[in-house]
Structure formats: C-alpha cells, structure tokens
C-alpha cells in the first residue's frame, strides 16, 4: 500500500493509459474512455496557459529584486500584460491583438529559425575540410545536395539532380524511417520500465 501511495502519480497515469490503450484498439470505443480522452484534450489549454504564467512570474520576480536586466524584464512583463488586457477587453479575435502577435512573435521566431542557415553555412566554409574519408564523403554529399536543391545541378547536367533525388528518396528516406521507428521503440521501452515501476515520472 505504501509503495502504491508513494507512486500514486505513476499508478494514476498507468490507469489512464490502460483505459486509452483499450479504447484505441476497440471500435467504436468504450464510452467512458472516450469521455476521459475528450476531457484530457479539452483541459490541455490549462497546462499551456500555466507555462505562460510561470514565465511572466519569473520576470516579475526579477523586477521586484531589481536585477540588472530590469529594463528588459519590464518590456517582457509590460508586453505580456498589454496582450492579456487587450485579449480580455477586446476579445481573442481582436485585430490589434492578432496584429501585434504576428508582427512581433511570429516574425521574431522566424528570424531565429532562419539564423540556423547562417549557423550551418558558416562552419561549412570554415571547418568542412577533408581531414578524413568520412569528412570527404560528407563534403561530397553536401555538394551533391546543393546542386540538387538549386538549379545549379540541372544546369550542369540533368543526371545530378536525378542522383540527388535518388539519394534523398531512397537512402535518406529509409534512414529517416529507421531513426523515427527506433525513437518510438525507445519510448515503448521506457514506458515498459514505467509499468514495472523502474522509472518514475515526477514533473516539477
């Protein structure tokens, strides 16, 4: 009994999972399980919203402590409060609210993502050197990919993009399958260990 109480979250979770697994393989499904699954889906906005609150709280604490990042913390908290007030006063479909979000957050995230290109191209120029056969192979494949995914290869000879597409579809595709399937199988192994109470799930 003590062990069950000590592992209450895991046990509860396992019961939930069992119900869901039962549902998945039955058609049309067990109505209680359907209700539970729908309820979990419908309650998802809570944890997502709470993550935002925790983030804002961290910056509020920085302001109260007078940290050296004060001006930036004020911007974070001020912007968050502005958005919440706009959303609550004018409604979630408010044009200004959506415009601010798209013009700040979406574009900012895209900017960071696009910088990945620079962080790939830069080392390709600086440190891609054929020091080993593996590196030479990597460089050769990179050149093939550049020629395939731009008109360059087609302009030199049509066989180049055909070769690149062949490698991408038949070799990369197979490798990607193996990678993801191994990840799934790894997740199953982890859950099996949880069922055996060898792993504990304790979120903070």
């Amino acid at each position: 009994m003590d062990q069950i109480m000590a592992n209450l979250p895991t046990v509860l979770g396992l019961i939930g999972m069992f119900i869901l697994a039962s549902l998945y393989w039955t058609d049309p499904g067990w109505s209680f399980a359907v209700t539970l699954r729908n309820s979990v889906t419908l309650s998802l906005p809570w944890p997502v919203g709470i993550v935002s609150v925790l983030l804002i709280r961290r910056h509020v604490r920085n302001i109260m402590r007078g940290e050296s990042t004060l001006p930036y913390d004020v911007i974070v908290v001020g912007a968050a409060i502005l958005m919440v007030v706009l959303g609550l006063v004018s409604g979630p479909t408010d044009v200004t609210l959506k415009a601010i979000y798209a013009n700040v957050n979406i574009i900012g995230t895209m900017s960071v993502i696009s910088a990945i290109a620079i962080s790939i191209l830069s080392p390709m120029i600086r440190i891609y050197r054929a020091k080993t056969w593996t590196m030479a192979f990597l460089i050769g494949l990179s050149i093939l990919a550049f020629m395939t995914y731009s008109p360059l290869g087609q302009m030199i000879h049509p066989i180049i993009p055909q070769l690149g597409d062949f490698v991408q579809i038949y070799i990369s595709g197979a490798s990607d399958s193996a990678f993801w399937i191994s990840t799934y199988i790894g997740a199953i192994a982890l859950i099996t260990r949880m069922i055996l109470l060898k792993e504990k799930l304790k979120p903070n």
Partner: protein, 234 residues
C-alpha cells in the same frame, strides 16, 4: 506595424554582430508578447471547447465537468501543499497522450517494414529500373540503419559490419538533411528581404540603418556615447 515587423526580424539578426540592446529589446518583446498571447489563446480555446458547452439550453452538460476539475487541479501548482494533485493530473494528461500515441510505434514499424519488404522485390516482377532498384536499396538501407540503433550491448560485436554500414546510411541522411536545412532556412531570410523591398511601405532602410550603426560601432563603440552608468549587463 510593417516597421515593427522588420525591426524585430533584423534586430534579432544583430546578435550575429554581438549581444546588443536592439537584440535584447526584440528578444524581450517576442517573449512578452508570446507569453501574453498564449495565455489569451488558451483562455479562448477553453472557452470555445468547454465553457460554451457547459450549459446547453439551460441544462448542465456533465461531460464538461471533468475538464473543469482537471483544469482546477492544474492550478495546484501554485499551492505547494497540493503539489501532488498537480503532479497526478499532469501524469494523467501525459500518459493519456502516450496511450493514444503509443500504438503508432508498432503500427508504424509494422506498416513501414512490411511496405519496404514488399517493395524490395518489385524488381523481380516489374524488371530492373531506377525505381525498383531504389526500392531494393531502401529496404537494405532501412535494415542497416535499424541495426545501428538496435544491436547494442552483447549484440554489438557479432553485428559490427551491419552497424558500420548503418552508420554510413545515417551519415548520408545527416549530410542531405544539413544542406537542405540550410537552403530551406535561407529562404526565410530571403522571404523577409523581399518583403522589405516589395512590401508597402518599403522597409529595406531599417536593416540598412542597423548595418550602418553596427559598422560605426565596430570602429567607434557607441557605448562611449551613453557612458558606463547606463550600461546593462548581458
């Protein structure tokens, strides 16, 4: 708004020069606006999904009770004494998600493996072509890459050759992915550059101005203008 949009995009890029106030302002705005909007969006999602359906034509919809209970249980994260309630509901959500997703693993493994195995021998019935040779190669590469992940521990030694070949297959994947990622992500940058040139109003002068400011700063640090007192540590 177009000015703000362009400022945010290119201010984030100025970090490539060095950590600076323009970048920090942009970063803080992105974090703050994102957190606020996410909160509003999820209040709206709960409203549309649950609140608007809790009372239908004056009658209570009991199916909506559980999302309410779970939502309130999540709030226990803010009450240290009730943290286990929050943990329980988190685990339930997590594992319910796993319960739905879990069967995909074996399902995907089965469908992909069967599909690749069946297609591998197409060259025998359809004759040898680029497509059928490719399908055969796919099955071989798939098996080799799997062997790299699967055969570990005591199974590692007898399968060394397969795992080494599997590593080559994964290297091909890595090389192609890295390059296509670079080419894909550079499109994002060009998309924004086109927007600054072709959008109304044109905002190309914002990144140009930023560039000039950074150029000046390189030779004459602008921090000298505002003195040490207003310096903000990064």
């Amino acid at each position: 708004m177009p000015y703000l949009n362009t400022f945010i995009f290119f201010a984030a890029y100025t970090v490539l020069y060095k950590n600076n106030p323009m970048y920090r302002i942009a970063q803080s705005l992105v974090v703050g606006v994102g957190a606020g909007y996410l909160l509003v969006a999820n209040i709206d999602a709960f409203n549309r999904g649950v609140i608007m359906n809790t009372f239908v034509n004056g009658n209570i919809n009991w199916a909506m009770l559980l999302p309410w209970i779970m939502g309130l249980a999540y709030l226990c994260i803010f009450v240290p004494k009730l943290i286990n309630v929050y943990r329980a509901v988190s685990i339930l959500t997590l594992t319910v998600g796993m319960g739905v997703v879990l069967p995909y693993g074996p399902a995907l493994f089965w469908t992909v493996t069967v599909g690749y195995a069946q297609n591998a021998l197409n060259f025998m019935s359809e004759g040898l072509s680029v497509s059928t040779a490719g399908q055969f190669l796919t099955a071989v590469c798939y098996a080799l890459a799997l062997s790299y992940f699967f055969f570990t521990d005591y199974a590692a030694k007898p399968t060394t050759v397969f795992r080494k070949l599997g590593r080559v297959v994964l290297l091909v994947y890595t090389a192609m992915t890295i390059t296509t990622t670079a080419l894909g992500k550079i499109n994002l940058l060009q998309w924004k550059v086109l927007d600054t040139l072709q959008g109304v109003p044109a905002t190309w002068w914002i990144p140009a101005l930023m560039f000039i400011v950074m150029l000046i700063d390189n030779f004459y640090p602008l921090r000298n203008l505002i003195g040490k007192g207003s310096e903000v540590s990064s």
